[in-house]
Amino acid sequence: MVSIPVKLFTATESKDVSFRQLHGEDNSRVRQLRWCAAEDKEIPYEEIVRGYEYAKDRYVVLEPEDFEKLPLASKHTIELEAFVSADEIDPVYYEKAYYLEPDETGMKPFALLLRALEEKGLTTIAQVAIRSKEQLCAMRPQDGRIMLETLFYPDEIRLRNLEPVDTVDVSDEEMQIAFTLIEMLEQPFAPENFKDEYCDALMTIIDAKLEGQEVVQAEEPETAKVIDLMAALKASVEATKVGNGKSSEAGTKPTRKASGRRRKAAAG
């Protein structure tokens, strides 16, 4: 077994359009509360523990110390376990792709591994710790670097028993038609020829609405805007007075410089 210190960089990102949930009446943000079902009240984050549901409504609670006891390989080291041929790995096992780069101290073994994989045309199977979870992964050479793909463990692959289709009768003629069709469309794989048209169309609608909204706001009669504003102010005052008495203390909100925090006050 060989271990190599490395750095990982996510190779893919989803370009899905994401939405926020709003209250349709006033377009204000819908806030998610951590609600205690027993006491029927909101509870702070500090009071949350992790429970494993071993039977319906029966939990065993795990403390942070319990997680610390778990054996976990060093985050930045990859333990090589086996070398295999890539076509032995069913694509269903592939989870997420990363670019792999050597850590400073790992230059030499990294280069050696890359060259060896290239020469042998093999993929190596390894264990790596990503976000405190031990992951199975496959690494293969690609254009002078190493790609790492995390793999599902076999028990994470769902089994589904389907009616076998090879018992259905297909005539030779039908097969010929299918072959002709395939030959017509046979070509090198060129992913750049495809794009997410649903996503593009959605962004077009959003852009149009944004444009439109600015124009509408500008042309809106001043009085309408004021009435609108006063109504919104009134609503926000009423809403805050109801749930008052817990949110005046400074520091109950994340500080403004806190990067990466997504919680945001309702922009009513």
């Binding site: 504003l229 102010l233 400074a250 909100k253 945001k264």
Partner: protein
């Protein structure tokens, strides 16, 4: 007194009224030299405080302070301080329940205290938006500030004099390293001015008076004085509502995003400074930033003609002399938000 300060002695015992203040290390550099301006010392800070005291003291009066002390200047370590056992007897204090206990907060209600703040290198004068004095509009709320969270929440210190809008541009010059704050740049300032003017339109439409000043770097603070009818939670919600209006109308310029990355290229509309004992640098306060900028009150019609770096502890006195005290009447310009929304 200014002559005494300017005299060149390294230490000084200054008589202010009946009080004697020991001033030490007067030549210690607080703000190192930058291009176009010499290094500024504790003496410069004290000369500034003494010179602008007539306009500065009214802004600080009766507002609990949070000291931001930089004993070795802006490039050294700094710490916050709310109570100080070594404070001289003329520094007024008030017991306030904060961080789960009663603490003696300081008030800057006289010239002696202001100079002592300079002596202990409190380079930015942070005060509460709420005052301990019920005059003239706070008689409905208790002046019992100690004992418990309930007491403080029912008290005057939970009812601010202002709705505060903190506009902070995250518009980068392109020269910053990863994760650094934006550097000074004209585009950032002018976009902030534009957003401030849009906000003013909204406030004008709602018949609310608004006062504007420069903030820390390229940002602007807008203060809207209001009768003390509403506590911080309601005031913050009002600020958020106005922010929401601006974000919807000008989504390309204004943001209320929590994630710093998502604020890039826009002006961050921060409503969350409307919170108890969240402290903001007062009008005319110096800032612990290179060049010793001052949080300077501005006229709404001059925003485009000035630039935040125009005002430093060296230039601010002349500016104040020629422009007058633009924030003198801020507490007399209060409006009643409750009446406004009830009549809507």
């Amino acid at each position: 007194m200014l002559d005494q300060l300017d005299g060149g002695a390294k230490t000084l015992r200054l008589l202010v009224g009946d009080n004697e203040i020991a001033l030490t290390n007067l030549d210690k550099v607080m703000w190192p030299k930058i291009r176009g301006q010499r290094a500024l010392t504790k003496r410069d800070l004290l000369v500034y405080f003494a010179g602008v005291a007539p306009v500065l003291l009214p802004q600080l009066r009766d507002r609990p302070l949070t000291l931001t002390r930089y004993p070795n200047g802006i490039e050294g370590d700094y710490f916050y301080q709310k109570h100080n056992e070594q404070a001289p007897p003329f520094v007024e204090t008030i017991g306030v329940y904060a961080n789960n206990r009663d603490q003696q907060f300081m008030l800057c209600n006289n010239l002696g205290t202001l100079l002592w703040l300079g002596q202990v290198a409190d380079l930015a004068l942070h005060t509460s938006l709420a005052r301990v004095d019920p005059e003239p509009d706070g008689h409905l709320h208790s002046t019992q500030f100690t004992g418990s969270k309930e007491q403080i929440e029912a008290s005057l210190l939970n009812y601010p004099d202002f709705v505060l809008f903190d506009l902070d541009p995250y518009i980068y010059s392109g020269k910053e390293g990863a994760g650094e704050e934006p550097e000074l740049n004209r585009k950032a300032y002018h976009t902030t001015v534009q957003v401030a003017q849009w906000l003013k339109e909204l406030l004008d439409a709602a018949s609310l008076s608004s006062f504007v000043k420069t903030s820390r770097a390229m940002g602007l603070h807008i203060y809207v004085p209001v009768l003390r009818n509403f506590d911080y939670a309601v005031i913050r919600s009002i600020a958020e509502t106005l922010g929401g209006f601006l974000v919807r109308a000008y989504p390309r310029e204004v943001t209320m995003e929590w994630s710093v990355e998502k604020r890039a290229g826009k002006v961050f509309f921060d409503a969350n400074q409307n919170a108890r004992i969240k402290n903001l640098a007062s009008a005319y306060s110096p800032r612990a930033k290179p060049g010793a900028p001052v949080s300077m009150p501005l006229r709404w019609d001059e925003l485009d003609d000035v630039y935040p770096t125009d005002f430093t502890i060296l230039t601010a006195p002349d500016r104040i002399e020629s422009a007058g005290d633009l924030w003198a009447g801020i507490l007399d310009a209060k409006h009643d938000i409750r009446a406004l929304i009830d009549s809507a």
